[in-house]
Symmetry: C2
Subunit: 218 residues, 2 copies
DNA sequence: ATCTATTTTTAGCTTTGTCTAAATTTAATT
DNA sequence: AATTAAATTTAGACAAAGCTAAAAATAGAT
């Protein structure tokens, strides 16, 4: 497993190729900021190795082994993210880049012991679930804040967009995972929301609400 | 800085190329288990980049920048080794391989914070000094156990050979860093030593004694 | 000082992962 | 059903890092 192969598997998984859905070379190329022709080359290679099913001109999807491999990389990525935040005081907008490197370190013992050190966390700093050693996901019934009705409330449990600018915006506005948010009102005109959070009232745009996951509790 | 370039710098440093001593391509090739011709190629490349001084047929030595770079990699390697032992319960014979991977992770913040988490350790699990952030070494006046006179004693502070078999041998014989060792007698015939360690008497071969560093205290 | 034996370099080839440009296939539209 | 636009693949090239085999330089021995 080269680093590059691992990155392809991870990307294909994130684009939905784990559910035997075909992902186009174009989509993969765009996501990875590379060229479709390079993706084609790698598709053949991964197909040879039995990690993806590849049909010319149709795209790729992960095989069972491919899914398992992708999950193990995602597991490593997210565990390292937790480590960086919990043990080394990184902020949630700083962890991704470093975890992209750390996820490729090869040592089963390392990752098992890291998991133990962190007390077997279930979610990473962005609220994304950490697959277990045997590749299981803990699903959670979460909804986008933009999709829950007026007067209902929930706990903020994750972000959909985990780009640095969005995360910094959330920090600046004191929106953090764990906060309870209540939808007071929605504005028809621009779909913005009036919310109550930790005692304070504020207005957020639809774009923000559409990137925050909440777990409803009423 | 590619991974490969970093490995070359580290090797050259370990072979003494930091003291403007010329290291032959052959020596480097042997150490790295590669071919002399490959070393020549890399020597040119590193020379281009100003990291080594290279004279055809004479060998390479590190420039000032080269030394600084090598030390920063060695610093990372040794800090990760401490992390693995102190935080993840690795044994001292397991850490090298994983640290070889971790040393190439690029993030200044990561290594600074790791240093802090570990409480700014001065030595790695094998007793090798950890360079400071600004590339200083803490020297220690240590001697090989094989070189101290009869009836003197010292604390075991490091190993010269840190191969897995040697480290496992030491574990098996309860020889650990921190132990106080007294030389009771030397055998002329095979240069083996009779020593007293932590109350017990034992005999060790010259080869063992020549790979243990002690700090004399009488 | 010359001649070997050894060391080191050069030249040319291989693999991995990428790219560009051209060719091909698919899909959409009339 | 034919044509065109878009997506995808192929072919050929390149850089990095390595290798082998041949050539060149050095060092040691006479």
């Amino acid at each position: 497993m080269t680093r590059s192969e691992e990155n392809y598997l991870k990307t294909i998984f994130h684009l939905g190729g784990g559910d035997s859905k075909s992902i186009t070379t174009n989509a993969i190329a765009e996501q990875m900021e590379t060229k479709p022709s390079s993706v084609t080359d790698m598709a053949k290679k991964l197909s040879e190795k039995g990690l993806v099913d590849y049909v010319r001109y149709q795209g790729v999807s992960l095989t069972e082994v491919g899914v398992k491999t992708a999950l193990s990389i995602i597991r490593k990525h997210r565990l390292w993210e937790v480590f960086l935040v919990k043990k080394l005081d990184f902020t949630w907008d700083e962890v991704h880049e470093v975890a992209e490197q750390l996820e490729h370190i090869k040592s089963e013992k390392l990752i098992d012991k890291l998991d133990e050190l962190l007390d077997f966390p279930k979610y990473d700093p962005h609220g994304d679930p950490i697959p277990t050693k045997d590749g299981k996901f803990q699903e959670r019934d979460e909804k986008l804040l933009s999709e829950i009705p007026i007067n209902s409330q929930g706990v903020c449990v994750g972000v959909k967009d985990s780009s640095v600018p969005f995360l910094k915006f959330l920090d600046k506005n004191k929106i953090a995972l764990g906060n309870t948010i209540k939808v007071l009102d929605k504005e028809d005109f621009d779909n913005s929301l009036r919310i109550q959070m930790e005692g304070k009232e504020m207005r957020i745009s639809h774009q923000i609400a559409a990137n925050l996951y909440v777990k409803k509790n009423d």
